[in-house]
Symmetry: C2
Subunit: 441 residues, 2 copies
């Protein structure tokens, strides 16, 4: 029966004579002549092992240790294991490509990504994916508590519903199909099917040749869709509750991981106060923010800034504004103009739509909105977007046989992880990211 | 504030004068001159709505009803809503392709799959995906309770590690990459990274031209991998506990859904008793089963049956044997011959391996085993499988820097769903299945 590193202190207190079996990786070695100190690392943490003489194994080897636990105030965690027997389960090459307990900031992203089995041994890097695992758990738990059903839909689609741009092509038994950019049409089908409330956690694909710290060509999309809403405001309320619940769980389960990144999460009270600003108003606020900032930076200069879309700069400015005004750098922008949104977005007026983005700590983490659920209205809008009903037959059929008012949104898992921990690049929040150049490991 | 169908009985008991808002689909209409009875269906169930006069909406339209709740012993669920106002939110075409409350057995699989937004309105078909959602939830909860971390890995792989057969090709910015058949190498990387115990719920792809009731070209793989095991027997024990936990949760949350399919799940006690039989012995048992069956069917005939691999027929025979001998049609077959398993399988002898399959109700639902974690041993075995170390460099690197003994398995989500409910075809357990001919909707 294996004992974990984190259990040694209690064993030393309660059963100091018992023989324990430890197993893990050799994190550090200190030889002091007649005795050696080895720090062993397992999934639960670190523990000191004391053994007679010198060690005959390398750093990062996997060893199994038999010994007795003893209290020792000088040891990390206040206890250690005095080894009576050690087996090397897997010897590590003495020539490691980099020191796993080094400074993450100095490792370089390519080194981290090229050597995942080593880089994740660094507690700070591992912390990213412990938090990510909690995000998925908390999201699922919250949505299930709200009567949502988890779904799994196909990632191979027969046609690019919104045209073929931005889609990866797959050779499917000699036929050309595409990797899905989003499960949105499937989510809508399932709302209409009477499930009413569905969510999916699954990969999504964008064949865009961007190379920025905010883009991935393959990412995990946290997709939500629900029936019987009035407008995008119901979705914004849902997302606020969802985010508050995720933040609470991350704080509860991953306080150590947050500490490693010197990160905090907003409290539920603050999330509830996150403002919702209409698109056109957001552009005005961002321009004013920029003028104020530039004005204070260079007194005397007078700029006539203007924005025409929610650009990355506007995202940053709006979050700075919300933080100053409401104490939280989370803001919902709604009422996007018709021309900025896909054909299926529900109109709120002749020119605007019931759509929204969520901006968190300077980055868009969500796009969503109410969808048009009227068959005739969809038929009428298609030509304006250069689309034809024939190619969209499967989609249009959803609305023929009774489809309630509905809408949904998607959160990018890697972006949310990135912003919770304050990572410089979204690729750090993906175990095996894919970009223009990277398809391995 | 919307009230759900299943809440009406309590409202009628406790607040019969309160005005309630219902919303849902028109499931059935019965007009009796001065009064009409409409059965409304929402995500929670069915409820009777009574309104004066005739109805002016079609079956499957989405309506919103205002009225008061009242007890009525003759109504389904013992209560009904007396409508004062009805709005049609979405009118259904009067010409439905099929009756959604009809007999599922008579609908035909293509009709069901071509019209998911309609076919899922049938409670029996919807039940499949309520059970599937519970399976994912129960699996995640159990594995997290055992200290597993949920991971998300790339489905785009730069090379077919075991050769290119059975892989779908993707055009990735002009480069040829493939859809992953399994996240196994990534799982192994993450065990070696110190996470030790990981699981993933994600799509997997097989470009095989089969067309059987047991195959899908895209399926959801429930993948598990853990470090510090001795042999595949540790994995079999883990899978038994996991399946027992899934069955218990399905029984607890989906008793109604099980009843619709006249299905039962094995008790935890029975799962614990599921036998493990070595591959060669399983072939002998299956052959004997067949002789006994044929012998009793055609007395006087003497057959010399023999099997050379765990074929679908052997799977059925072994489950029948286990049900008779142990009271449960779940059996683990281990010790597969070297030639039947991939190069990375850990040997148990010169000729056999530490690998296993799980067979449930006549179908293989799991393949797994311990993996070779010794770098030199892997180098030596590669040529025997016609593989070279250069092409497998990324994979081999996992074992260079300390990799504990480990192994894992994968359960096919759709197959497990199929076998729990007794579905004739695995495609019934996939919302949007993909096969040689089907890539839509």
């Amino acid at each position: 029966m294996r004992t974990l590193a984190k259990q040694i202190h209690r064993v030393a207190l309660e059963n100091p004579e018992t023989v324990v079996d430890l197993a893990g990786w050799v994190h550090r070695i200190r030889e002091l002549g007649a005795v050696s100190f080895v720090i062993l690392r397992d999934r639960s943490g670190l523990v000191q092992v004391v053994l007679p003489g010198k060690v005959d194994f390398t750093l990062e080897s996997v060893i199994q240790v038999q010994g007795t636990a003893a209290l020792n105030e000088k040891a990390p965690g206040g206890a250690e294991v005095r080894a009576t027997h050690i087996d090397v389960l897997s010897a590590a090459d003495g020539d490691l490509p980099f020191a796993v307990s080094g400074d993450v900031g100095k490792m370089g992203l390519d080194v981290i990504l090229d050597h995942r089995s080593l880089s994740l041994r660094n507690p700070k890097i591992r912390a990213i994916f412990k938090v990510q695992s909690t995000i998925i758990e908390a999201l699922s738990a919250f949505l299930r508590s709200q009567d949502f059903t988890e779904i799994k839909t196909s990632k191979l689609i027969g046609s690019g519903t919104e045209g073929g741009t931005g889609l990866f092509e797959v050779d499917y038994f000699g036929r050309k199909v595409f990797l899905a950019q989003s499960p949105q049409f499937y989510k809508q089908t399932l709302v209409a099917s009477g499930l009413e409330r569905v969510f999916e956690v699954a990969p999504a694909y964008r064949a865009e040749k961007h190379d920025t710290p905010r883009h991935l060509n393959e990412y995990v999309s946290l997709d939500v869709e629900m029936g019987f809403i009035d407008s995008e405001r119901d979705l914004i309320e849902l997302e606020k509750s969802l985010l508050a619940s995720i933040f609470e769980e991350v704080l509860r389960k991953n306080a150590d991981e947050l500490a490693l990144w010197n990160a905090t999460v907003p409290s539920p009270d603050l999330v509830a106060q996150a403002p919702t600003v209409a698109h056109d108003e957001a552009l005005r606020i961002a321009a004013q923010e920029l003028r104020d900032k530039d004005g204070s930076a260079k007194p005397g200069t007078s700029l006539t800034s203007a924005f025409f879309e929610i650009s990355p700069e506007v995202e940053r400015l709006m979050c700075a504004w919300a933080l100053r005004e409401k104490g939280i750098d989370l803001v919902f922008v709604n009422e996007f103009p018709r021309r900025h949104r896909p054909f299926y977005t529900y109109p709120s007026s002749a020119t605007h739509t019931m759509s929204f983005d969520a901006l968190f700590r300077g980055l868009e983490i969500t796009t969503g909105g109410r969808r048009q659920n009227n068959y005739q209205a969809l038929l009428e809008v298609l030509p304006k977007f250069g689309l034809n009903a024939e190619a969209l037959k499967d989609y249009l059929d959803i609305f023929k046989y009774g489809c309630p008012p509905h809408g949904g949104f998607a959160i990018g898992l890697e972006r949310l992880t990135q912003k919770i921990l304050g990572l410089a690049n979204v690729k750090e929040a993906s175990l095996f990211p894919r970009d223009r150049k990277r398809v391995a490991p």
